[in-house]
Assembly symmetry: C2
Homo-oligomer: 408 residues x 2
């Protein structure tokens, strides 16, 4: 954890234990950090798993293996390494991951494929196998810890620990979801990475869990951006231990499936927002809502074009209601748009409608809105019913300082 | 022109007159600048024109009109307004452009469609028709000026005037190309825009001139990026007066066509580099060469993904040979790539080969290379014969200061 906490930080919430989930941490010593850097999560037999992963084609061995592992749908343990991304490390990096899987599998007497591993941190340095194995051994012998401690341990350049929880009633049974996430700080030569883990005591059939996680991901993690750079290691995993005792959810026809899906989406959105709130150099949290697009997907792509525009992000940093830059970003998004139907507003006040600046546009309330920490941008394309909201942060001197003002 | 000149600036070159091209400037007073802001270029009867324009769908009226005008292939005049982009201004913006076209056409006794107009500067404010018409009248009565004066007058937040020239021998006749360009500074609430104009005394049939300009554009202007934000007004026009007396070039079968094409491409590349050298906050000029791609287009898209990555650009700003960030950018480009065949180098020294860091990688010469103003990044995808070079600048505190540290 960095010392300077993001001005957009949120306190870590109270989060109950999840039956069937035990957290432990240890110090593998991947970096000269003086703190624990290895998180071990033991999961009860029968735990279902689902996952979504980075689409970066230069992904890490952990991501390659994880993609295959979640297809089988069963998990007994998770190991998270902080300080070394193990990406772009060839066969040596893969060997270290397989060694961790074998070590934990022997301890739990389970197939190695049921042990998931994630790593973030330095790229291009193979994960040191001996440090990893000593760290795992220490974690297996450690006392259980709570969510906040685990959330701190998976972090790298994060400035605050991030967690979220929710409950739902499923067939008369209350189920709980607890989740932690890390991201998106980066420090040379480290690389920003988002790792998120959601745990629930609900019983959910793995394929349905995957369907729900993928759907939630499309509206949450896929709708945030800090700087448009896609990490090689991004991973979100959902684990369902089944200890709550509900009748297993197998499809949307199962009683309570909708409630569980809503709770899962809620947790994912909370986590996604926390990552943006810890975006490098972030001073403002920006929500961009695009309506009137030809489809929801199109609205999302237009929103991301705005959210990734350095000119829009610097304008917001400067408190400048520069709707011309929003017009530019809409126009370059590569999606259907009609300049003469386009409307743009800030904080609920339209600045331009139907392709022209409003004659009676009053900038005073907009300036007041932009002076705050939470900024809303509204874009109406005027073409259809498609709609999406994306979230980002502003682009400030802090981002440059974090990423340029040093030499490796 | 801004007072602080880019450290990457180049002196304005000696450029000869082009027969059939007369430059004049005037002050329309679009902004409170105390300098001329309207450039008028008169072209001899029979001048051929070709153009390439922004693909931003929220483009200005000037761009919409220009696209149609270059199809006819004939031009008698060009008017360039500095300080007002006239974008997102609806029918009132279009009326101002049509008024300028009519005024000049009456003066020259030519069709209004042969008068091209460009504007850059503030977005969302209709070009004031009365100021424009008074400015045009003053320019028509002004004495001719030279290339450097015109290059300064078309600029907005540029920090130095930009020009380039070349010669070629076409069927035994020496032809000359002279060109000026502006971009890519921006100051709130202005918008970065690139406007480039190439003038030649060669005789070139309009359709062939368009073919040559489009081809040169793909390898030059389309291969530069400062900040990934595509302007609503980008325009490059080529004018051929035919006064050199060569037999008109109609296709690559015409004697001297190859030489002319090479000279045109050379001028376009010079102009494109000058724009990058005036990129906002630029301290380093970066050339990224991608080889081994499945096609040249694919290589270009991978190169642009690297050139647009804020993490790569800040690493270069910090003099950091962070090849992990280059790997990340390759992986997110959406193009075919194989992590385990990927090689990355800086200034001719490979840092990673075939998906792994080199064991004997010596960072000393790379660090020395990155300490300079001219940085080369080499990427070999190891898949095919596709190749491209793209150019960009680093991302520094200067960029943030220019675009965020003010309020409109």
């Amino acid at each position: 954890m960095s010392e300077a906490v993001s001005p957009l930080a949120r306190p870590f919430p109270a989060m109950p234990p999840i039956s069937g989930v035990t957290l432990r941490i240890a110090r593998a010593g991947y970096k000269d950090w003086g703190r624990c850097d290895l998180t071990y999560v033991e999961l009860a037999p029968g735990t279902a798993v689902a996952g979504v992963f980075t689409r970066n084609v230069c992904c890490s061995s952990e991501v390659e293996l994880g993609r295959e592992q979640v297809k089988a749908g069963a998990a007994r343990a998770l190991v998270v390494n902080a300080g070394n991304a193990n990406a772009f490390t060839g066969y040596r990096g893969r060997e270290a991951v397989e060694a961790i899987m074998a070590q934990v599998a022997a301890h739990l007497d389970c197939p190695p494929a049921e042990v998931l591993v994630s790593s973030t941190g330095v790229i291009g340095v193979p994960l040191p196998k001996d440090k990893a194995q000593a760290g795992v051994a220490a974690a297996l012998a450690a006392a259980p810890c709570d969510w906040e401690v685990a959330a701190r341990t998976i972090g790298t350049t994060d400035t605050f620990p991030k967690g979220a929880s929710a409950q739902a009633i499923v067939g008369g049974v209350t189920v709980t979801l607890c989740a932690i996430i890390k991201g998106s700080g980066m420090i040379a030569p480290d690389m920003a990475t988002m790792l998120g883990y959601i745990f629930t005591d609900a019983a959910v059939e793995p394929r349905f869990l995957q369907e729900l996680l993928s759907a939630a991901n499309r509206e949450t993690f896929s709708c945030i951006t800090v700087d448009s750079d896609t990490s090689t290691s991004d991973t979100v995993l959902a684990f369902a231990t089944g200890k709550a005792g509900n009748a297993p959810l197998v499809s949307f026809d199962s009683p309570g499936a909708d409630a569980f899906a809503a709770a899962l989406r809620d947790v994912c959105r909370q986590l996604a927002h926390l990552v943006v709130r810890d975006g490098e150099g972030a001073q403002k949290f920006i929500a961009i809502t695009v309506s009137g697009a030809v489809s929801d997907d199109s609205a999302c792509r237009v929103g991301l074009a705005i959210a990734n525009s350095p000119l829009v992000k610097t304008a917001i940093a400067g408190g400048d209601a520069n709707w011309g830059r929003v017009v530019m970003a809409v126009g370059k998004a590569g999606e259907p748009a009609d300049r003469d139907r386009l409307s743009i507003g800030f904080g609920g006040v339209w600045a331009a409608r139907d392709g022209q600046p409003l004659a009676d546009y009053d900038e005073a309330p907009v300036a007041a809105h932009l002076a705050g920490q939470e900024v809303d941008i509204e874009v109406d394309l005027g073409l259809g019913e498609g709609r999406a909201t994306v979230w980002t942060c502003d682009l400030t001197h802090g981002y440059i300082s974090i990423n340029a003002d040093y030499r490796s």
